[in-house]
């Protein structure tokens, strides 16, 4: 057991897998000598050599395309996209190639690759260092989409992703790298070193993809959240005093419907929260699934709380970010309905 930030936990996951499996290789922009702009790969090149951890040219399509080729050879690449905002040049390789390779070749070739990328706002990064593009991946059959919310999960889920035989989009909420940010930007964040979820088991362990976690039990309303929003939801529950049951989805695709349905059937109410833009965000899928499966248990309309339908602004960051006040208002509203 070691105290780790989420960055260290992520690095540890790669370290464990690179140590266990010679086929695991790690690459991306600035990930080699320097160890990544968020330092998630620090030390890996020194430990495993340039052959297995290296810098790439700045070409996201090239990074993913090369990873697919390597996977076809038999490797298990774990690549970094420097910010999720920069994944779009690789979108074709992800959607048309990685996601469909097993299907179109009837299993002749597969693409067991993991594509890590920091996601979400809260660091005054403006529109190109703040986006949460999960929904443009959850629409793609053949991908798995993972969003961890703490160091223990991050390590276990990343190990599971690297071991998974299908391509995994691994979104790291960068605002959580150093502590469980709950949206109260005016207050300092508790560092992971002082948080129980920062106590990360040593060595190998994995957390299965497709399993959500109830992070707070409650009876009044179910909150579906992931990444940073888990803590925002917790703060909202605390501050409104509403007995919310909070589910940290952890994997968006495939989705743990069982846990969701059981909870909503119990509470009869549901709030869906994410930082990404509202329209066609993943919340629409969550709301739909709940509506389809729990309609007769619903005592109030399901409410979505999400980023506004604008690009992510710089100065107005905290007006944009769906913080505890907005989530709290939704909780109150869904209870009053």
């Amino acid at each position: 057991m070691s105290r780790m930030t989420m960055i260290q936990a992520i690095r540890d996951a790669m370290d464990v897998k690179m140590g266990q499996d010679e086929d695991v290789v790690v690459f991306g922009e600035d990930v080699g000598y320097f160890g990544g702009v968020f330092r998630c790969t620090q030390g890996l090149q020194e430990k495993y050599g340039r052959n297995r951890c290296f810098d790439t040219p700045i070409n996201e399509s090239g990074i993913v395309g090369a990873a697919i080729g390597m996977a076809a050879y038999g490797l298990r690449p774990c690549v970094e996209i420097q910010f999720a905002d920069y994944v779009y040049p690789a979108y074709d390789q992800i959607v048309s190639e990685a996601a469909r390779l097993r299907y179109r070749s009837a299993g002749d070739f597969t693409a067991p690759i993991t594509i890590r990328m920091p996601t979400g706002g809260g660091i005054f990064g403006g529109q190109t260092h703040s986006q949460s593009p999960e929904a443009v991946f959850t629409q793609v059959s053949g991908l798995k989409v993972v969003v961890p919310s703490n160091p223990i999960d991050a390590k276990g889920l990343l190990i599971a992703s690297i071991e998974d035989d299908d391509p995994v989009i691994f979104l790291e909420p960068k605002r959580l790298y150093n502590g469980p940010f709950d949206g109260h930007h005016e207050q300092p964040v508790t560092p992971w070193s002082k948080h129980e979820l920062g106590e990360v088991p040593d060595g190998h362990y994995s957390i299965p993809l497709g399993k959500a976690k109830v992070t707070r039990e409650g009876s009044a309303v179910t909150v579906l959240a992931y990444g940073t929003m888990v803590y925002v939801a917790e703060a909202a529950a605390r501050e409104t005093g509403i007995d919310a049951e909070i589910i940290d989805l952890r994997t968006l695709l495939p989705l743990d419907e069982e846990t969701i349905i059981a909870s909503v059937k119990k509470t009869g109410r549901c709030v869906v929260v994410h930082e990404a833009t509202l329209t066609s965000g993943f919340g629409g899928e969550l709301l739909s699934r709940v509506q389809e499966t729990c309609f007769y248990h619903l005592e109030a309309p399901i409410i979505r709380v999400a980023g506004w339908d604008t690009p992510y602004p710089h100065a107005q960051e905290w007006d944009y970010f769906p913080g505890p006040a907005r989530v709290g208002r939704a909780l109150v509203k869904v209870m009053e309905a």
Partner: protein, 410 residues
């Protein structure tokens, strides 16, 4: 502003359009045998001229001449001819099958048979091609069972891809043939990645990427050259310049550059241009490149100068955008005719043997076709199963797909 200061958009146009009489006599084609053959480990900057020339072996008389000749023995040559003839016959039958409604779509290789059939012979087991839709010769040159290809084309019950893929989008790992994608260019960087993996594992295998002239414009072409150049990946970067990209002539992709092969120069990649209708030249140049890659000397780019004599696909009618006779006027001739002439000149082939070979091959193709059709054709119904539609999306079927399959009632 004065007239002479005004800018104008330059939009390249092919020399000939329907109604014109094609005439390629101004095209500068080096004599067979006239282009030098450098050492395998030549520095790229010393052979820049080879990207602006055309390496040729077979001359008009059917003789194999010059420094790139002499690579193949009699048996290999006859085999090469047979592979090309097989590909052409296969194409003809499948074109007809498509017209008969036995499948939805087909793409032929007419005029380009030498490129993929000759190339494949320089690879060894374990190497990997990342082909486009116009390299079926890579399979046929390995005596890959035609019936399997046809099963795929027919999407029948024996289709190895379970009906999921468009006809001719084969996948055959065992034969070093990567799953074909409908998206242009994506496979090129994958080839580089595969080659990098081989180098990472200190293996001996090499990769070959394939791309068409039009598709070199795609962005993944750039990614491929950047990565191949930086990591000195053991990959052969093939550009099949068949002059056309559907209705668009090569000048739109090539722009002001002299040749596609020259694209390699900006990356320090040795680039050779070869007569794609000359089986012997293709083989010799590919062999040079493969040896270079295997000796860890990095990537090589090869441009095959050829001509797409048929339509782009069964959905295309080239008469709408180029003269009907352009293919006849094309100065590099027909690869099969040239090879046949060579074998006859060499004294190991005759018109009679050729006729006989034609008949044999036709038989083989027909037999395969018959067998394939016994497993069904696209609209003959029933196969492959709808159930199969839900398989292989993931390694294990997640709950939502199981539910959907159930909902589909299959």
């Amino acid at each position: 502003m004065s007239e002479e200061q005004r800018l104008h958009l330059h939009v390249p146009e092919p020399e000939f359009r329907p109604g014109d009489t094609p005439d390629f006599s101004n095209v500068n084609i080096p004599n067979a045998g006239s282009v030098r053959r450098p050492e395998i480990d030549v520095p790229p900057e010393e052979i820049r001229d080879l990207a602006y020339s055309i390496i040729r072996v077979l001359n008009r008389e059917g003789e194999a001449v010059g420094p790139w000749a002499g690579e193949l023995d009699d048996d290999q040559l006859i085999e090469g001819l047979r592979h090309m003839m097989t590909l052409r016959t296969f194409d003809a039958r499948m074109m007809m099958a498509q017209r008969q409604g036995k499948t939805s779509f087909y793409m032929q290789h007419l005029g380009e048979e030498a490129v993929s059939t000759a190339f494949q012979k320089v690879l060894v087991k374990g190497d990997m091609n990342f082909p486009t839709y116009r390299q079926a010769g890579l399979l046929l040159a390995q005596e890959y069972p035609m019936v399997k290809m046809m099963n795929q084309i027919y999407s029948n019950e024996e289709d190895p891809l379970h009906g999921r893929q468009l006809p001719i989008m084969y996948s055959e790992k065992e034969y070093g043939f990567f799953s074909i994608s409908g998206n242009l260019g994506t496979q090129y960087i994958q080839a580089v990645g595969w080659a990098m993996a081989s180098a990472i594992k200190h293996d001996t295998k090499i990769a070959a990427g394939w791309i068409g002239d039009g598709s070199t414009a795609e962005s993944d072409f750039h990614a491929s050259l950047v990565f191949a150049s930086t990591y000195k990946a053991p990959v052969i970067l093939n550009v099949v310049n068949n002059q056309w990209a559907i209705s668009t002539f090569q000048g739109i992709a090539k722009g002001g550059s002299g040749t596609f092969a020259a694209r390699g120069h900006g990356f320090g990649i040795p680039s050779l241009r070869v007569d794609g209708n000359d089986y012997l030249a293709v083989y010799a140049v590919a062999k040079w490149a493969a040896e270079r890659a295997r000796r860890n000397l990095g990537p090589v780019m090869i441009e095959y100068v050829t001509y797409r004599a048929g339509g782009h696909s069964t959905s295309d009618d080239p008469a709408a955008y180029r003269p009907k006779k352009e293919s006849d006027a094309w100065p590099l001739g027909d690869p099969i005719e040239r090879m046949k002439l060579h074998l006859i000149a060499r004294g190991i082939w005759t018109e009679a043997r050729h006729k006989q070979a034609e008949a044999e091959i036709r038989d083989q193709v027909l037999t395969a076709q018959k067998e394939a059709e016994s497993h069904g054709t696209l609209h003959s119904g029933g196969a492959p199963s709808a159930r199969d539609m839900f398989e292989d999306v993931y390694k294990e079927m997640p709950p939502h797909l199981r539910r959907q399959r159930q909902e589909a009632g299959i």
